[in-house]
């Protein structure tokens, strides 16, 4: 019954090759603003560990691991602010299944997913006709350093090399020191691989991203709590002030709600939740994850005082990352609008 806990332990242990157990962020800090904003060697390391095959079914040559294992991994990556687009490559593997290329699985090449059509919608329709792709894909993580894109449309998923005619990539620097990209596709010749599981994979990836935000929030809260226990003002530890204590308990409550919701949803996904429940539960995880990450980031800055607004403080790295990734996988207004429909359908 507890297969997944053993698997998770192994995955989390192996992820320590990417994320230092002591929380050291020197690597993360050094990578900011350099090239693509991540380290290809680290992508290869993740590939060696088999992380990109987690969500590829066993019959398609993958590990066939569950969402609970994935969410445990993503928490570790979030806590360590890992800049490599590991979640996006795991998503590509899940979309492509048996068609997931060997060198993408090994991390020798970098493949990321481009699924979202526009910020105001959560659709991945794209435009595909007569063997050609036209349209835009937004919010592509890791695009600046990617070799291939798994482009998702309503008709299936296409593997698109970055130098393919018809593809232009516009990137913008992000606060965390990385890049976020938009793909412009015009009459791009592509083979469309059918992907009946597309909607489910997007929900899985959204949930995994919520788990990343959970890990990030958890660690940012811990750093803040530690600071409250050493920082003195007026001859007292600031953690002894009731006004701050009560705000800390609110962060803790939100954090535990997020943890419970993410892990319960992962368990439901692994044990076969109905489609309507899947959509609803992935969305409410995402809403709470974004909200909690931003709450803790804000409060962390305030409780660090002036130190919280310096670049040299560790907490700043968490704040910048939260601001950069909290609203991926659906801006809250779009998620809430969709929930208004899915909640009514379920309850």
């Amino acid at each position: 019954m507890d297969d997944w806990t053993e698997n998770s332990r192994m995955i989390v242990d192996s992820a320590r090759a990417i994320v230092p157990a002591d929380g050291n962020l020197v690597r993360v800090r050094d990578l900011r603003g350099k090239d693509a904003g991540f380290d290809r060697q680290m992508v290869a390391r993740a590939g060696e560990l088999g992380l990109f095959l987690m969500r590829v079914p066993e019959e398609a040559g993958g590990l066939g691991l569950g969402m609970r294992e994935t969410c445990e991994l993503m928490q570790v990556l979030g806590a360590g602010l890992v800049p490599e687009p590991i979640g996006s490559t795991i998503m590509a593997g899940a979309l492509l299944g048996a068609a997931f290329p060997q060198d993408a699985a090994s991390g020798d090449t970098v493949m990321v997913t481009a699924w979202q059509d526009s910020a105001s919608s959560l659709h991945f329709d794209g435009v595909f006709g007569a063997g050609a792709l036209t349209g835009e894909k937004i919010a592509v993580e890791g695009a600046a350093g990617a070799d291939f894109f798994a482009v998702l449309t309503a008709e299936g998923v296409a593997i698109v090399p970055r130098d393919r005619a018809g593809l232009t990539i516009s990137t913008a620097a992000t606060l965390d020191g990385g890049q976020l990209a938009r793909l412009h596709l015009k009459d791009l010749q592509a083979e469309m691989i059918p992907c009946p599981q597309a909607a489910a994979v997007v929900q899985d990836a959204s949930l995994a991203h919520s788990a990343y935000l959970l890990g990030l929030s958890d660690r940012a809260f811990q750093i803040t709590l530690d600071y409250m226990k050493v920082r003195e003002q007026f001859g007292r530890l600031i953690g002894s002030f009731q006004a701050l204590q009560h705000r800390a308990t609110e962060m803790k409550i939100q954090l535990e709600l997020l943890r419970a919701t993410v892990m319960a949803t992962a368990a439901r996904f692994d044990t076969g939740a109905e489609a309507a429940h899947r959509a609803r539960d992935a969305d409410r995880c995402k809403l709470r994850a974004a909200e909690t990450a931003m709450l803790i980031a804000r409060e962390a800055v305030q409780m660090h005082g002036a130190m919280g607004i310096t670049d040299e403080s560790e907490i700043g790295l968490y704040v910048r990352k939260a601001m950069t990734v909290a609203n991926l996988f659906g801006a809250p207004p779009a998620v809430r609008a969709r929930l208004a429909t899915t909640l009514e359908a379920v309850t």
Binding site: G239, S240, Q245, H246, A248, A260, A337, L339
Partner: protein, 382 residues
């Protein structure tokens, strides 16, 4: 009647409880947000008692059902789904488990059957005018004289105390030691000479509480539970499932369903501005459900429940309050009505709003619980 309920499937058990409440519930109010008094609720108390359903957590040999947490929750859910009135449960829920844990054999043999039979209705006497959140500051005093305790002082916020014929109280029995160390737990008949009560009307206009005064009230020495000066530990002892159940999402879910009814009645259900706020509350209720389930799983596994369980009560009670606040806005000019509009209780936003007030005060105020979390869970300094 001594069926092993835990051996039944959840569905079988749920059906049994549902059939029971649907066929046996007396002709009395359902879905009442105010507590009913003993003369109104007694028929239902007796039905539960006769069927052996009054004390779900007690051992079977003492007349209980020995229900495991999962089954207990199903029972609570079914009774609330039907809208069954809450009975006078201080005996079944508080004193019974407390006597089972700390009482003498004689106390158990005497008092437990009288709770089951409805002979004794218990009230809880903890709070005092100067000891609310700071419960250990109790001043109501008991002095040993010969083979009796002589009690002087006052208790307050005694829920449904006017209906009770017994009260358990925390009293000061040693003033020379740290305040928690000088407290004892006594059982007092309400008809003892020197006991008087005065009702307190609440904001809803109901007399749910009373003050209880003790003037030279005498009870035998064996009316103490636990040892002399051990009352604090006795009172703080775990109340089993209740510590977790108090954080269940069902009260908020029910309030949310009333809010939906209210919004449909007001004609704004389909407006985006309302629905967006409703969606956030729905998500909160569902997320609370997931957190609640983690604690239920711990109970089922027999794992210890730590101080962190207070997170459930804080979030649940504040969520219920937020729902009640939106309900008032939707009710508009009807928000101040003393009686349900159109004779429809579900439209009575004021009742929801008022019922949302005490839940962040009683059973550990939100502020005290946050203090506890800060120290015991987050390890923040004094």
């Amino acid at each position: 009647m001594t069926a092993d309920f835990n051996a039944m499937s959840d569905d079988e058990f749920r059906t049994m409880i549902r059939d029971f409440v649907e066929t046996e519930y007396p002709g009395m109010p359902r879905f009442s947000l105010e507590r009913l008094h003993w003369d109104e609720v007694k028929p239902w108390y007796m039905k539960l008692s006769q069927r052996g359903f009054l004390c779900p957590t007690w051992p079977v040999e003492h007349g209980g059902m020995n229900l495991e947490p999962g089954k207990h929750l199903i029972m609570v859910e079914e009774l609330e789904r039907f809208g069954a009135a809450r009975v006078h449960d201080i005996g079944p829920v508080m004193l019974g488990p407390l006597l089972l844990k700390h009482g003498t054999e004689a106390q158990k043999a005497h008092f437990l059957p009288r709770i089951l039979s409805g002979q004794d209705i218990w009230a809880q006497g903890y709070s005092e005018p100067g000891a609310g959140s700071d419960l250990a500051a109790v001043r109501c005093e008991a002095v040993q004289e010969g083979d009796e305790w002589v009690i002087n002082g006052q208790k307050t916020w005694t829920t449904l105390g006017m209906d009770a014929n017994w009260i358990f109280i925390l009293v000061r029995t040693d003033k020379s030691v740290k305040k928690q160390a000088g407290i004892s737990f006594l059982l007092v008949p309400m008809d003892a000479p020197g006991v008087t009560t005065r009702n307190i009307e609440n904001l809803a206009g109901e007399a749910e509480f009373c003050e209880v005064f003790f003037d030279d009230v005498r009870v035998p020495l064996d009316h103490i539970v636990g040892g002399v000066n051990e009352g604090w530990a006795v009172a703080k002892a775990l109340l089993g499932h209740e510590r977790v159940f108090i954080g269940a999402p069902r009260l908020s879910a029910a309030a949310l369903s009333r809010l939906e009814h209210l919004a449909r009645h007001a004609g704004i259900w389909d407006t985006p501005i309302f629905r967006d706020r409703f969606v956030l509350l729905q998500c909160d209720v569902l997320d609370l459900g997931d957190l609640f389930q983690t604690y239920l799983d711990k109970l089922q596994d027999g794992a210890a429940i730590g101080a962190d369980v207070a997170m459930l009560k804080i979030f649940q009670s504040e969520l219920y309050q937020r729902i009640s606040e939106l309900s008032m806005q939707i009710a508009g000019p009807d928000s101040g009505l003393a009686q349900p509009p159109h004779d429809d209780r579900r439209l009575h936003a004021a009742a929801t709003y008022l019922s949302a007030r005490p839940i962040t005060i009683f059973g550990g105020s939100t502020e005290i619980l946050r203090n506890v979390l800060s120290k015991a869970v987050l390890g923040l300094p004094n």
